[in-house]
């Protein structure tokens, strides 16, 4: 059986979804870009890090330090990776969301 996990917050969901989409290319800047471009809201980089660190503390993601690149003025990246535990939590959130929205698509679009 799966362990009991507290439900994910909305921003946590956005961050985890970005990790899924980005795969190996997930680090601070790309996660933020995904959220900005898809969800259409500007986010402080510190918010991304705070959330990712919280998720890491819960055992949902893990991070590793990458290689320095010229574009970043010789600074390194901190890459993040979704762990199975986090994947389960995301899936649960997605299931709950899709169950709740099933059959409501037209209605929801009509809400403007």
């Amino acid at each position: 059986m799966t362990r009991m996990t507290p439900p994910l917050g909305e921003f946590e969901q956005l961050v985890l979804l970005a990790l899924v989409r980005l795969g190996a290319d997930a680090y601070g800047a790309t996660v933020r870009r995904e959220i900005e471009q898809r969800a259409g809201r500007e986010v402080a980089i510190s918010a991304v890090y705070t959330t990712l660190e919280r998720l890491e503390a819960k055992g949902y993601v893990r991070s590793r330090v990458g290689e320095p690149t010229a574009e970043r003025g010789g600074r390194r990246r901190r890459h993040f990776e979704l762990l199975p535990h986090g994947a389960r939590a995301l899936k649960a959130a997605y299931q709950a969301f899709s169950e709740m929205t099933a059959g409501l698509e037209r209605q929801l679009k009509g809400l403007g």
Binding site: G28, A29, R32, I45, Y49, T50, A57, R72, R78
Partner: protein, 907 residues
């Protein structure tokens, strides 16, 4: 792209563990946006990002810590949210009390700004070590003598004796500053030079940025060309594009082949040389030709480690008799060695920094004291404001405390409010300090040494910010906190004058008295400077309408064929200048009034029939060579006799004019001097007849005595030991309405060059600028003290107003009752007015005593009045009392307008 600041802010607020990644991510995103939407969009995004990060920062940071500690995150975030609320609350409510907020913020800003600016100056000029290695070992060597009032200077013969015989000096060098003629492909140019003997650069110890110092061999009298030259960094940049390109370049200096062997560092300055040198050339002293006379060099030395200036001075004094024995007297000079010994030439050794800043030290310390007093007044004022404010909120706070507000919460709110005031005041103060310093450096007297080293000195800024903030916090929050903790029930009943409020009122009264006393000291100082300035303006400088006299200096080349030919050339150039449109008259002279040391010339002058006592010499006089028409052009009155004529020059220039000071030695009437004959003590000289006496001229400075002057013709036969004598460098003085315009100076230059292309033209100044320079020291002190005085006065007035206004508000009911019982509004007004004046009068008495003691330090800056000048004190007291009366009258009038019915109804 300017992204440095926002990026730095983001970096600063990010926890260290994530800094590298966050900055990297940010840079990456900025680059991305710049590619997609351009630089402007990227910049704007970065600014927004900065604010987003900053606003989130406390939550993110402490959130992270609480996770580590496993504490409950919600609580800390609650704390920061509520402190944010306090800040917003303060920002919202402070503008609603503009009088209090503006007064507090301005007081802080003025206190922080002025103190930081002035102390930065004091630090840069007086305290900071000179920018040379182990600069504490550097000393200046001067020579005093009975025949000259100031420094006699040093001679080449001393150089050799001192270097050979001393036991206390690690290195010794001498120099003179002057100009050299630089020949370029497109003409000639005059450059400022430092002429250094061997040992000067070695003593200073600053290595060139490129290349090397001169070697000892390059100073040898017979050293071969090319002559070595070292450039200033700026000169190398402007002529060769860079210091590297300058190295090894060849220059034609004074017609001799020279080669650049070094370039000094960018920030190297040679003492207070003004303007600084363009080039350093190697002086070649020849021991075989040196004599005792001719003190035309300056000396500095580096002491051996552990040696004090006093020990070095004793060592040098020991060498003076050896020096007198060892060297011959200058040829043709009639004085004997015995007479020279009676000059009592005595070496004076002082630390280089003391020597450099000695003249302004007292003035700067006075300013520092004045500004310190302003800071005290500012702190007193803030304390006062905070006390008044705390009192005003007593009721509100008591109610809130009674309704169950946590005392800590109230205290925090007050603390945050003080912090907001402190922060805004601090930022304004910093801006003020920077602006003030810019202004100071721009308008400061050019003779303020080390002017270019002045900058905001951070520890001072930190200190003043701390002092002001502490006074805000201490008097504001702590008092308020006391209210919050001890619920003062009497507050509910309104202001029935508890004993606590009387105590606070006494504290405030003491603060006001202190403020008034300090303000009086500063206003007295300012008025003293105003009177000094007026006295100086009233001094007759000995020339008229300086704003319409244009001056330019020229140098005839060394190979121009001697005085006969170059004087003819100068005469030709003068004719060309006089023919320019708009010129009323023109002349030339070896030295301009107030021009300063390099061109001044003192010489021994003897009078026919007045024998010099054995073992002494005739007193030296200031000597100038002038062309005919000089006095007319300058507007200097000839009070007896006549001017020099061109005919006099043609017949060997056997005439002279003397100043009033000299003429007085011959009798009470100026005409008594006419017909007397004078010359230098060289026996081969011809006598010259005094044909005229002219009014006193303030040759040195307005505040110095006019010297005893001799005006010789610009050309003379058999004078100063020479067969023919003239001045190779002269300043043309031109009287015209067009003075000061660029076209006019260009025309003068062209007029000079129409007679010879080889004559450098420089130092194009008006007499007005020389005159203003002479006033600069006084006007600088005047402006600074006037600012300090005005600030102290303004703050003092705010203080008095605050106290009386508060007393009035506290006694509203009492006044209502009095008026209901028949008191007249005039009586009420007088009552409060009297209270204000009693406070001010107490302050004035204390201030008076302080001023009498403290203004003695101003003595060196004063002219024409003493530090206890009664007019100044009366004026200052009048100003203070008038201001105090006004400050008390306004609230007193409000009190007298109280409607007794309304007041008692409220009761």
């Amino acid at each position: 792209m300017r992204i440095a600041l926002p990026l730095r802010v983001i970096r600063a607020v990010t926890p260290a563990v994530n800094r590298e990644f966050v900055v990297g991510d940010t840079l990456e995103r900025v680059a991305e946006i710049e590619r997609e939407s351009g630089e402007r969009a990227a910049k704007s995004w970065l600014r927004r990002e900065m604010w987003r990060v900053v606003v989130r920062a406390p939550r993110d940071r402490f959130g992270a810590e609480s996770r580590i500690q496993g504490a409950q995150r919600m609580n800390t975030s609650g704390f920061f949210e509520s402190i944010g609320r306090d800040f917003r609350h303060a920002l919202r409510t402070l503008p609603r009390r503009p009088a209090f907020t503006v007064a507090a913020v301005l007081t802080l800003a003025l206190g922080i700004g002025a103190t930081t600016a002035i102390f930065s100056v004091v630090y840069s000029v007086l305290i900071k070590p000179l920018p040379y290695p182990s600069s504490g070992e550097l000393v200046r060597i001067r020579h005093s003598a009975t025949v000259v009032p100031e420094d006699l200077g040093s001679s080449g013969s001393m150089y050799f004796t001192y270097r050979a015989e001393n036991r206390t000096l690690a290195e010794l060098g001498m120099w003179s500053d002057g100009g050299e003629t630089l020949t370029r492909t497109d003409g000639t140019e005059r450059v400022r030079s430092l002429r250094a003997t061997y040992g000067l650069l070695q003593a200073i110890g600053v290595q060139p940025a490129r290349g090397r110092w001169f070697t000892e061999g390059e100073h040898a009298p017979a050293a071969e060309d090319p002559r070595p030259v070292i450039l200033s960094y700026g000169f190398a940049q402007s002529r060769f594009g860079s210091d590297a390109a300058a190295l090894g370049q060849e220059l034609l200096i004074n017609g001799r082949q020279s080669q650049v062997v070094g370039v000094m560092p960018r920030d190297f300055r040679f003492l207070d040389m003004s303007p600084q040198f363009d080039i350093i050339v190697a002086t070649r002293l020849d021991a075989a030709r040196e004599t005792i006379g001719n003190f035309n060099l300056q000396a500095l030395a580096r002491l051996k480690p552990g040696v004090t200036p006093a020990e070095a001075e004793a060592d040098l004094q020991r060498m003076v008799p050896m020096w007198l024995d060892a060297w011959p007297i200058i040829q043709g000079f009639s004085a004997t060695k015995e007479a020279l010994a009676n000059w009592r030439i005595t070496p004076v050794v002082r630390g280089l920094k003391d020597d450099l800043v000695g003249g302004v030290a007292s003035a700067l310390w006075v300013l520092m004291g004045a500004i310190g007093a302003v800071l005290l007044v500012a702190c007193a004022n803030i304390a006062n404001l905070m006390l008044v404010r705390a009192d005003a909120r007593r009721q509100e706070l008591a109610v809130r405390a009674a309704l169950g507000a946590v005392p800590a919460r109230i205290a925090r709110e007050l603390l945050v409010e003080s912090l907001v005031i402190g922060a805004v005041g601090g930022v304004l103060g910093l801006a003020l300090a920077y602006g003030g310093l810019e202004l100071l450096v721009a308008t400061g007297p050019s003779n303020l040494p080390r002017l270019e080293e002045i900058g905001v000195y951070w520890p001072v800024l930190a200190f003043t910010v701390a002092v002001s903030l502490v006074s805000t916090l201490a008097f504001g929050s702590i008092t308020a906190l006391k209210y919050a903790l001890n619920v003062d029930m009497s507050a509910f009943g309104g202001a029935r004058g508890s004993s606590a409020s009387r105590e606070r009122s006494a504290t405030r009264s003491v603060l006001v008295v202190v403020q008034v006393a300090l303000a009086l000291v500063l206003v007295v100082s300012a008025v003293l400077m105003i009177r000094t300035f007026q006295a100086l303006r009233d001094v007759n400088p000995g020339f008229a309408d300086p704003e319409t006299i244009q001056t330019v200096r020229t140098w005839v080349p060394n190979d121009s064929g001697g005085p006969v030919r170059f004087t003819r050339l100068q005469h030709d150039m003068l004719d060309a200048i006089a023919a320019l449109p708009g010129v009323t008259s023109a002349a030339f002279t070896s030295t301009l009034p107030m021009e300063g040391a390099p061109f001044n010339n003192n010489a021994l002058v003897i009078v026919e029939g007045r024998p010099v006592a054995p073992g002494t010499t005739a007193p030296p006089r200031r000597v100038k060579l002038v062309s005919p028409g000089y006095f007319e052009t300058m507007g200097t009155r000839i009070i007896a006799g006549r001017d020099i004529a061109w005919g006099d020059l043609e017949t060997g220039g056997r005439v002279a004019l003397i100043s009033e000071e000299f003429a007085r030695e011959f009798g009470p009437e100026p005409t008594d001097a006419l017909g007397k004959r004078i010359r230098s003590p060289v026996d081969t000289d011809d006598w010259r007849e005094v044909v005229g006496v002219v009014q006193s001229v303030k040759e040195d400075a307005l505040y110095q005595a006019a010297p005893s002057l001799v005006y010789f013709p610009a050309f003379m036969e058999k004078a100063f030991g020479n067969d023919v004598f003239g001045a190779g460098t002269v300043s043309f003085v031109v009287r015209s309405d067009r003075t000061g315009t660029a076209t006019f100076t260009n025309e003068i230059r062209d007029a000079v060059w129409s007679r010879s292309r080889d004559v450098p033209v420089a130092l194009e100044r008006t007499m007005q600028s020389l005159y203003a320079t002479s006033l600069a020291r006084t006007s600088f002190a005047l402006v600074m003290l006037a600012i300090a005085g005005a600030m102290a006065l303004a703050l003092g007035v705010i203080g008095i107003y605050g106290v009386i206004a508060y007393v009035v508000s506290q006694r509203t009911r009492e006044v209502g009752i009095r008026m209901a019982l028949g008191a007249q509004s005039g009586q009420v007004r007088t009552m409060f007015l009297r209270q204000g004046l009693v406070l001010s009068a107490t302050g004035v008495v204390i201030g008076l005593v302080a001023a009498l003691v403290l203004t003695r330090f101003l003595s060196s800056l004063l002219f024409g009045i003493g530090p206890t000048d009664a007019v100044c004190y009366v004026a200052a007291i009048a100003v203070i009392l008038a201001a105090a009366a006004l400050a008390s009258y306004l609230p007193a009038r409000r009190a007298s307008a109280i409607d007794p019915v309304e007041t008692l109804k409220a009761e």
